[in-house]
Symmetry: C2
Amino acid sequence: MKLPDSLIKLIEHFQSLPGVGPRSAERLAFFILKEDTQKIQNFIKSISEVKENLRFCSICHNIAEDELCKVCSDPLRNNNKLCVVENILNLVAIEKTGYDGIYHVLGGVLNPIHGVNPENLNIDSLLSRLQNNSYEEIELIMATNPTMEGESTALFIKRRIEQLGLKNIKTTRIGRGIPTGGDLEFADKATIDNALQGRREY
Amino acid sequence: MKLPDSLIKLIEHFQSLPGVGPRSAERLAFFILKEDTQKIQNFIKSISEVKENLRFCSICHNIAEDELCKVCSDPLRNNNKLCVVENILNLVAIEKTGYDGIYHVLGGVLNPIHGVNPENLNIDSLLSRLQNNSYEEIELIMATNPTMEGESTALFIKRRIEQLGLKNIKTTRIGRGIPTGGDLEFADKATIDNALQGRREY
């Protein structure tokens, strides 16, 4: 006896999802098989709704229910501050602070080993936005994560801006240091080094 | 800006799947959002097909496309050998060896700490099968895994059979020892101990 074809197909589908290996895929497929039919129908409906109702903002690549996202379509937003983030979850995290500027979602970070090159990210659309901006001066806040990939992505964008000779753009990088509630004792050398370099008058 | 309700709902759905934490659930939901619509439709179709076409065998709880599974509906199977397995994947593994008997799928192992008690497993239906069996003698092959939970589940079933005073049942346990291709050097004490106890004439 082999597993039925439909089940094998479902296992393969699960395996194509990010972070799901062969064993987890099997486990998920069997879970679907056992689970209450009504719950699975709700799950399917939820997937369909996301695919039908949501898309990406044509300006900043944030999640959107219309052509433009809620940030880009808000006239009260400060268009002189443009925050570059890796992904939408990072954008949502920054929104919680009350930041009043606009965004540009890269959709990832440069990682040539894993096949992520500049053309795979929303970098060209960022450069076009900067070229077409009609404001006096724009602050470009590089808020990619302080990882090796995040740093090199930020640096790549900074160099491209310089190469294109874009004017009126002030590039900044998010502060690095000890996180709130953290302890110097447990911080690594690079973090402490950055905290010292980024010290402010008190 | 918050995440749209439909996306939050999808994240919650993913989080209710086994082995999917909050971060993986977010990642999966964003993957669904980004992925090609046709591929997601195929995924949905695959889930529906499994729910519509597959069920569990009313005798042995194996996967089935009809009332009975392919094993239980096969007249050539040896009904005097009944192999008790934890789950369908274990059944599929045993099928590959050419085993000609029938099965009973428990649907898990006893694990009271995680809320898996005898009533959550297909133990009562196994005992009913044994009580109603019309054959001369039946060999009950306990093929639960040689883990703590697998052992205690096998032992629990053995004791229940004794308590019920079921006759003509010979209970056996799958052999334990060094796996084929294995090396004594890397085997743990319990495995070597079991290999010695389970030695056969040569």
